[in-house]
Amino acid sequence: MRLLSRAATVLAVCLTLHPARSAGRGVINWTGLSPTAPTNWFDPRNWSTDSLPDANTGALIGAGPQYGPIITGNAIAASVGIGQNELALQSGSLQTGILTNNGSFNMDGASVLRAQTVSNTVIGSLDLGGVVTTQSIDNSGFMGLGGNVSTSSFSNSGTWNQAGILNLLPTTTISNTGTLNLIGGTINGGVLSLKAGPSGMYAYGTLNLNSLDVSGMVWASGGTLVVSVQDTGNIYGQLGALAAGVGNGTNTVSIAGSAPLINQGFIYSAHVSGSTNGVLELVGNAAGTPVLINQPGFGPMQGVVDVGGALVVRNPDFLGNVYVENNGTFTLGSTSQVTMAPGANLVLTGTGELYLAGANFQPAAGTGLTLDGQSINGAGTVAFHPASPLGNIGADGVNGPKLTVIPDAPLTATGNVSAGGGATLVLDLHSAGSFTNAGWMGVADIYNGGTVMVQGADTLVNQFGATISIGAGQMVLKSASGAFELANDGTLLVESGAELRLSGGQYTIDGMGDVELQGTIRGETGTESLTIAQWTGIESDSAMIANLASFENQGWMETYSGLSIDAGAVVNSGEIGIGVGTVTVTTPLMTNSGSIGISGGSLLTVNGNVLDTGNLEIDLGSSANISDTLTQTAGDVQVDGALSASRMVCEGGTLGGSGSITANVEVGCLMSPGDSPGRMDIFGNFILDAAVS
């Protein structure tokens, strides 16, 4: 079968080399019959007409002669066809129209080939070692370029080893569906199109291009791939890859120029264990335009930059900023090493994400990372300057990864700020001061725990329309200066089983938003204080406020099925409405200068003393149990339900109501039993002090 195939190929070649098909002006055959010089192109006895090919006569070098011709001078032929033989251009030059090679064409470095078209068929071997000037090179076989080749059209579907210099005119297009091995060579200018499929390019040399259209693989391995886009050119990485870091030696993909590389594929620098990492170099430009645009999309359609090895960011113009428009994913891996040139600042714009796969990227002083938009996801640490609100900030993974983001200015996020799957998200705001949530922030209840920590902040703003939701796990607020304000104009929801933790300092929740507390607000050390500011409300449902040095409500609190408060001191100067269930306050002293209303059959239990200068109203059917003393110095205590205490002392204000008081009662205030009118029962002793009524 293989023999038949070979015979068919040879037949096809013979048909291709038929004189009538090879050149319209006549073709002469190489015979190699010169008795003295059977390889000399310039010996007429070696040609079928005993005359040399010329500008009007083509040359056909078929399989018959034992030796092929060797050119050592300046040869001219209307066309050159090489069959199962070889042509060697050792010195001098060959000028022809069409050079068709089915055999072997070798030219040494000192020679010159000028051909309108060079066509190397699937069985041909083309070794262009000298200077080649042509309008078109079409390679389907094996081609080696070791010399200096200039062409305006280049098509390769075979194997192309590039060791020399290939100069492409700006309009030149190389269409490569085969394999290009850039072995120490250089390709300058033109458009290099590497199509999908088995194609690829292995750049062991230097590739300087005006435009690169990649849909195959391009490897910078042992060489430098300089994608230096000038002025009008573009580089497209479509479903392909630019890669650095395979093999040893210098492995660099350098992206530079005043026009951007547009990537819809995969660009990466690889980490090579025990060897030199691949290097991805981003070189800024004086125009301040992106050197790289990562295209948006889904799955393989999305532009991806993955730095597993080295990333070098520099700006030769010393203008500082190196812009990358990232609408896809820009990944820094755990093995990545980022080198910022002095004064360099990497600016990521666009709607994509900076993904940390375990990386620690904290630019040194004098360098920086600016995120203009963008999202940050993954695990690792990144310090940056936020130029505009971020999208999402998320720690993800299932093995407890930790993502730490360190902005140097007030930070706003419009998307999701979250930690899921046991992950921890740390917003380290020591240098930023504040964080504004304009989207959704928290730990979703669909995850099995997670922690969002806001540390080093003075202010956490939850904007109108935004939500902080702790559905599972916890959110930790860690004050830097001692005072921490949670300005809530949106919705703050702590779900059952979840915790809002306060770590050191004095915390204030203010704003006009909703606070729905179904879980726990807890002090981490017991030294923390929490104040609910005036006009701010908390709706609690089987909730807990625990382990605080002090808790003060200046706003309003409504309970629906219970609340537990445990603090060194509890102060209410606002309004507490206990409508359903039990509110248990454990504190040495609870002070009320606002109003507390107990209704609907609910119960207030205070494990400690109560000092009341405001209003305490216990409706019919409702109760208040105070383990120690209730002291009233002003205001009204209206007992229409049941009040119990170890002792009640009324030193000011009014004590009234139609309920019962189980306590020893000493009244130094206005005593007005009944409820206009009604009956009050005191189970205990009663003293009405002198000079009071």
Binding site: M671, P673, G674, P677, R679, D681, I682, F686, I687, D689
Partner: protein
């Protein structure tokens, strides 16, 4: 302050010992209607340590022609009519006095 209304009145029932060193203001609310023979049990106690001083008890809002008295030892309030429509007992006392006066005059004759 204990309020006496048209239909009900304030009450303070103390299961233990009661000590009243302060003042007692009894306020008759608007619409209070005198009901002959009715006493008002304002206070109840398990034991009385110190009763209200009589001088510390005051009444307000009681209409003209009525009088009231509070017994600090029982905690009960009495209201009576000082003019206008006497109570039955008053009639009895008055009749007895007139009869005695008449009998005395006949004897002297």
């Amino acid at each position: 302050m204990m309020e006496i209304g048209p239909q009900a009145w304030d009450q303070l029932f103390i299961s233990g010992e009661a000590d009243f060193y302060g003042n007692l203001e009894i306020l008759f609310l608007a619409g209070f209607q005198f009901q002959p023979g009715l006493s008002y049990d304002l206070f109840s106690w398990g034991s009385l340590g110190h009763a209200f001083d009589p001088g510390s008890i005051s009444f307000e809002g009681l209409g003209q022609g009525y009088g009231a008295s509070f017994d600090p030892l029982t905690g009960e309030l009495q209201v009576n009519s000082s003019s206008g429509v006497p109570e039955p007992a008053t009639y009895l006392l008055l009749g007895t006095a007139l009869l005695a006066l008449s009998l005395t005059r006949r004897t002297l004759r």
